[in-house]
Symmetry: C2
Subunit: 545 residues, 2 copies
């Protein structure tokens, strides 16, 4: 049957398993919006604004592997751009479909709405280029081949792609027939062999060795493979902040978190004293290493990347991560190494009648988590406080540790919950970050999802108070909201909401949250400077400077 350009695009996305399209509709994108709504196998997921939609797509892709976003020209796509750049940074493939003005409007260089008024129609695609791994402006003639190229780029790089479609072209029939899916990069066999041998040699002579389970394991859907490798080696493994729950934290070989300067010194010492560190896709960024205080000599490191591996100082290009892991599993010998092991946070400290402190709250959250939970933690003190919590079997923990755009977590939690409505999604956010995107709470209610939301209200941007020169400077202050009243105002009328100040109130609210079959929103009141221990240590080391 004759397929239109937009039908072809959506059909190709369905082959990847994408059934939901996040976005905000708009007149230049009506052809896209109509096609989604007219397709019985797809859903249009309207969001409050485009940035929130992009963050929601990011959260969805973290659970399902891919996602789709649709916005209108100019105003819509630029509003989403920070979210797309975040997905680029964090290796999440989002298909961003933009509806453009029709070709006659473009050819006549008309001054039309949602443009800069200069008669240029390719500017926004150019502005987007650094934040995507491929982009195309589709026509009936090029749609089949360009779509295949762009899909291939998304699969190869696991980053966002940009697809713009003029409104009239979107409704036209594609020319040409479907291509066989383009092949993905494969390893160069001899290089792969050489890399495997080099790695095995390095591991064999190592007295003590360790594995870092990095975030790329999840992004490339290699959890089973990576776990098989860890079990084949017998080596202990640790994860860094960005990589938390890359593999199950209940695994017997899991040591705990490796996070530089101030946390888990026994883990840090063990890892940094190893003769060999097999790093499966962890990134040496500032936040992941607490300002580069996690230090491993290059000569000791085997850094497995997406398309190459570095063994000590030598890089082996053209080696795919999956191929390398599979080959290692077959050839590697097992070691028995005694490694330290952490056991998460300590017991909650404090009396029931006390005001809530970090010493009570973070350990209590750890106990609140259940198997298979999806925990989305906002950038800031909340994610810092939770990074060493032990996650139950099957539970995953997501934050945005490289792009670190505050406001991401609230819509990302919506996207994740929509991707897995059968699991419990827990959003943990500070109130400062929450203000950026709080309206998206309404979508949980609209789509019948039942998240548990904790909004930590410490009267300002706490992470900034800890980092800046004068903690009480007024740019760290916020408008004072009544957070616990937000769900009702946003239409989540049957939710359980609470505002808690003491440990007893927190306990009662958490118990109700466990029992009620509804969305939950708990505002947790804390002191202005009440950060988790790791954040306070960071603050002290900054203050000493």
């Amino acid at each position: 049957m004759a397929e239109t350009v937009i039908e072809h695009v959506l059909g190709r996305l369905k082959i990847l398993g994408i059934k939901d399209v996040f976005g905000v509709p708009g007149d230049y994108a009506f052809a896209v919006n109509d096609a989604v709504c007219n397709d019985n196998e797809m859903r249009w997921i309207g969001c409050c604004n485009e940035l929130n939609a992009a963050y929601a797509a990011d959260g969805y892709a973290r659970i399902r592997g891919f996602s789709a976003l649709s916005t209108t020209f100019g105003v819509g796509e630029l509003s989403a751009l920070c979210g797309i750049a975040g997905s680029f940074t964090e290796h999440l493939p989002i298909f961003h479909i933009v509806g453009m003005p029709n070709t006659r409007t473009q050819q006549e260089r008309r001054i039309v709405h949602h443009t800069l008024g200069t008669g240029q129609f390719d500017l926004f695609a150019k502005m987007t280029e650094p934040a995507v791994c491929a982009s195309a402006i589709l026509t009936p003639e090029n749609a089949v081949t360009e779509m295949e190229r762009v899909v291939n780029a998304a699969l190869t790089h696991r980053r966002p792609v940009y697809l713009a479609i003029p409104d009239d072209y979107a409704r036209m029939t594609v020319l040409g027939t479907a291509l066989p899916p383009a092949t993905l990069p494969s390893s160069v066999p001899d290089t792969l062999d050489a890399a495997v041998n080099a790695i095995i040699e390095k591991l064999e002579i190592a007295q003590i060795a360790v594995i870092l389970a990095g975030y790329l394991i999840c992004r490339l859907d290699l959890r089973a493979e990576a776990q098989a490798l860890i079990e084949a080696t017998g080596l202990p493994f640790a994860t860094m902040t960005m990589d938390k729950t890359a593999l199950d934290e209940t695994h017997s070989q899991f040591m705990g978190m490796y996070i530089g300067r101030d946390i888990n010194p026994e883990i840090r010492q063990f890892i940094e004293n190893c003769d060999c560190v097999l790093n499966l896709g962890a990134l040496w960024s500032d936040l992941n290493t607490v300002a580069y205080t996690a230090v491993i000599e290059k000569a000791k490191m085997i850094a497995v990347g997406h398309h190459s591996v570095r063994v000590g100082h030598a890089v082996y290009p053209g080696v795919e991560m999956k191929d390398l892991i599979d080959a290692l599993v077959k050839k590697i010998g097992k070691k028995s190494i005694n490694a330290p092991k952490t056991h998460g946070l300590s017991e909650p400290e404090g009396k029931y009648s006390d005001r809530i402190t970090p010493e009570y709250l973070y350990p209590r959250w750890e106990r609140f988590f259940k198997p298979d939970d999806i925990v989305i933690a906002e950038t800031g003190t909340t994610s810092m406080g939770l990074e060493c919590a032990m996650m139950p079997k099957g539970a995953v923990f997501h934050n945005q540790a490289l792009w670190a755009s505050i406001g991401w977590a609230t819509p990302a939690a919506f996207g994740a919950a929509l991707a897995a409505p059968e699991r419990r999604t827990i959003l943990i956010t500070g109130e400062g970050a929450h203000q950026l995107t709080a309206q998206e709470v309404s979508q949980f209610g609209r789509f019948g999802l039942k998240p548990v939301i904790f909004c930590l209200n410490n009267d300002g941007y706490l992470i900034e108070r800890l980092l800046c020169r004068e903690p009480m400077t007024y740019y760290n202050d916020l408008a004072q909201w009544n957070y616990a009243k937000l769900p009702e105002a946003l239409g989540c009328t049957n939710w359980f909401t609470a505002k808690v100040t003491t440990n007893a109130e927190l306990e009662e609210a958490m118990n109700k949250a466990e029992m009620c079959n509804a969305g939950v929103y708990i505002e947790v009141i804390m002191d202005k400077m009440a950060g988790p221990p790791v954040a306070m240590k960071m603050h002290e080391s900054f203050a000493r400077k």
Copy 2:
């Protein structure tokens, strides 16, 4: 006294009269944030998110002429980009100050937060370039000259500029001393004379002529000059949508609105039958002309632009709008022309007990407006319904008729109210657009402002229902909020709020709004397809296609 780079930048902004900096703080921008807060003559205006901050800066610049915005690197600036592009489109000079990572981080190409992780630090400046008229990355050595260049560009083009400052450089002492302010473009004297003569000749032979008072009059702060010209010519004048209240609508020579196809046919006929139309800076865009149904022959038009004028087919470059208007005032002869005149909207239609209809609401709003009000109307059916309301003396009406980014109005109203707290600011928005940026309502309360907010709740994106193929398609549906409960949730606890469904309830709420000395938020419930007459006519003409 030795001045730091950021002190120099802020000092230069103060010379332009900028005393407020909108934004969201962030660690790379602390030097900027600190400098603003440490300056007794400046205020930091923290917003909920960066896009909202950019829109607020846009609203402020509409009232004060200029404004300033500060965001952090990457995440902050990209979030604000849609707002900056809107200010570019609509000719509003915003100084966007971005805090960058320090130079050592940049030189070492470190993988740090808020970057794409590629070690590139100039990408975001490049992505921003199409949306600003000048940009600079400041150093101690170039700060004085670059700042002067950028200020000059902002004044010359009346568009946003981009200033990025590495964190360490911001706190260093500037090298060099303040330059004399760069001179602005001036007219080429002979070209100016030739243009003036050509215009006078064209006007003298015209039997009937008319003036269009365009938005550039306001953007270039030429209201007094333009009004003097209108009075010197004796000609009637009209305005288009984007230009509404460019000059006072109570002026005796004001005919009414000229808006293409469906409105004010007697105005349209008169204007299009004129021998000569003197267009003072109005733009022939799609929305301003209702899809180009406002048609004036090129030969008849004198199009006065910012730096040039077109007389019929001939362009005179190097002619400044102010110089041209001033010269015309001195030389032009007076005509006496009988022109039609509109008198705004008719009486509100409907009984008190009726549900609120557009036929009641829009005329009632017209009567609600008072002298010197600032009315901010969102893109969509609300601004369409209000474009023909007669505005009282000194009252101004703003919408975003070219960029037309929904969500703009709510933060823009906050920015406008902050710019003129002594005037009454009225925000009129549909609920669909309001959802994009609604959290900024909290800032009115935080800064002690007392706006009157009308949120028109018609259960979906009405403008899209009127434009798309299937009005009831579900992408036009929204999460159902309890809008009247928003102010309290957002901390505006002492406001008067109401949810009104009948004309009687509307009257009561409006009366209370007049009396109370507090912020006002009125949710107006309307039927799904209840658009103002002009929107319904547009819908019918689309449906006929």
